[in-house]
Assembly symmetry: C2
Homo-oligomer: 340 residues x 2
């Protein structure tokens, strides 16, 4: 774990479209930003879930692909030299002794001291859906993996792949030539993967090169000290079956959760952060929330609503960052982009 | 005065960027729009005051000229077939007997029956600054004109031009060859017009072809039945002077005012319309206000704030327009643009 301490005016949690536009809005008011995101790229859901999908309700764009919107927002933020910390989840939030600075800590040990924190976390950090198996935590990262980074790690191993979508099927097709044995557990006989891939999976099963364990669900894990020995599966009647295995790869899709943010003492309303709509202040001093994660009566979950909230938060934060300095409101046509 | 009666779901007052985007937002929810504006073109201030000026704070546009933004917003609204009524000011607002429709009347006699009215009037309708001369109303449109549409109307007439800017100087230079006499009244000796034009004016004055009446201000009008006989001017010490004249052309710039809207019984807060920020409802049933004309505590006068308010108003209006029909919120990526 590396440790880095940064100081900045605003720490923004989430590099989706609203977080990126917050960099711009805070920058226009002279506040520089550090941005943390669990993904390896900016854009949040736009990048991760639907980069090619056209969006129709961004003002001035009769139609724009999500990925292009993200690219343009990043370019708009660029003059303000934001520092991005990708592939990290925010974990800790600690107040300084004088109460005027927050220290944000990430999962990789980055520390950011900021005068204000803006949570633009969308629907939350992306994470894998974990099967609800007792004790699974002790196997995670050792013999239970939700992502495959190096297929060769599974060379010669008995691998159980769980799930019926593209990820499950594609990894089964890849690992069949690497692992000593591949079993695919799915609760239905039919796979949701692309028809061609599903067809290849069925063909390999007929050849005896892959075991299709259908319709079965994961029911338990056997092993100790993080070392898996067998995966227990059950059919719809509760009959169980034991598959000897060295590794389990569950591919049950991604879910989003607020993660550690939910433990910070924020007023939450069904997984959203309650804010004052005019300032986007939360109940915690110097902590704001904007975009889909923020809620108030009548809130519309639109990207453009989040853009307006970014502007509101920047104006409200100004007085906290520059104590006593008056903000003279000017139009961007008059002022242009301030030099930073 | 022609009379036309139209029926629509929403009547939008103001075709500035926020009014145009409201066409889109209402359209996305299945509501078609009629739009009224005093200008002859869409865009409001963006078109009338600073078409070439770059704007920096529209999300997704690191920089965009005001006129281009307007063009793009109009294109975005186009699939919903809005009907524009340009060159007209809204004057009347009357409720139908059943209370569920408003009849909007304009200065040219257009009548629009709408289920909801959205006021997106920006800083108000553009109009000339009128000199504060007693009885000037009785001369307006007959011998006092704030705009020149046909210079030949002044052929052979004694014309007094008032003002020191480009409009005053340019019209004096144009009319010198048409009118029998041109006098220019300005309260300073120096003119604010383009140096070349101001120089030509001074040269014509030296040649005796134009009378420069400086430093003088307008002090009174003489005449009857709308027919001007003389313009009275005064110097800074109050000494008056009488200029025989058939026409007065005051060019004191444009101002913006709410106009007749201010008489509708809306809750006003220093020339702005007070709204509930989450729905943009005014105190009058089925009348909404969005963009710069709308105010609430913490309001930011940004175009992008107005865009978000357009979305809020459309969602809030939906229940009034489609009574009892539930609105199922969907993202534009899922739904695309509905066919209309």
């Amino acid at each position: 774990m590396t440790e880095h301490l940064h100081r900045t005016e605003v720490a923004i949690v989430g590099a989706g479209p609203v977080g990126l536009f917050a960099v711009f809005e805070f920058g226009m008011l002279g506040m520089s930003a550090h941005v943390v995101d669990t993904l390896e790229l900016p854009g949040g859901q736009c990048t991760a879930l639907y980069p090619e999908k056209p969006i129709y309700d961004i003002p001035g764009f009769p139609e724009i692909a999500a990925a292009e919107l993200v690219e343009r927002l990043r370019a708009q933020a660029k003059p303000f030299n934001p520092v991005y910390h990708f592939g990290q989840q925010v974990v800790g939030l600690k107040r300084s002794d004088d109460g005027r600075t927050w220290r944000l800590e990430t999962s990789t040990g980055t520390q950011i001291d900021a005068r204000v924190v803006v949570i633009a976390a969308g629907a939350g950090a992306f994470g894998p859906n974990r099967p609800p198996l007792p004790g699974i935590e002790s196997f995670e990262g050792k013999s239970v993996h939700y992502m495959v980074q190096r297929p060769q790690d599974f060379a010669g191993k008995r691998v159980v792949v769980a799930g019926g979508g593209d990820s499950a099927v594609d990894w089964a097709l890849t690992l069949v030539d690497i692992a000593s044995r591949v079993s695919v557990v799915h609760r239905r006989a039919k796979f949701r993967a692309a028809p061609d891939s599903a067809g290849r999976l069925q063909a390999l099963a007929r050849e005896g090169r892959i075991d299709l364990v259908v319709p079965f669900q994961l029911a338990g894990l056997e092993g100790s000290d993080g070392r898996l020995e067998a995966v227990v599966v059950a059919d719809l009647d509760g009959n169980t079956h034991r598959i000897e295995a060295d590794a389990l790869l569950p591919f049950y899709g991604l879910s989003m959760s607020l993660g550690p943010i939910a433990e910070w003492g924020l007023n939450l309303d069904r997984h959203h952060i309650a804010v004052d709509p005019q300032s986007c202040r939360t109940n915690i001093d110097r902590v704001f929330a904007i975009g889909d994660v923020a809620t108030y009566p009548g809130k519309l979950k639109l990207i453009l609503t989040g853009f307006a909230e970014a502007a509101a938060a920047a104006h409200a934060a100004y007085a906290l960052v520059f104590e006593g300095k008056a903000l003279h409101f000017e139009y961007s046509t008059t002022r242009g982009i301030p030099s930073v």
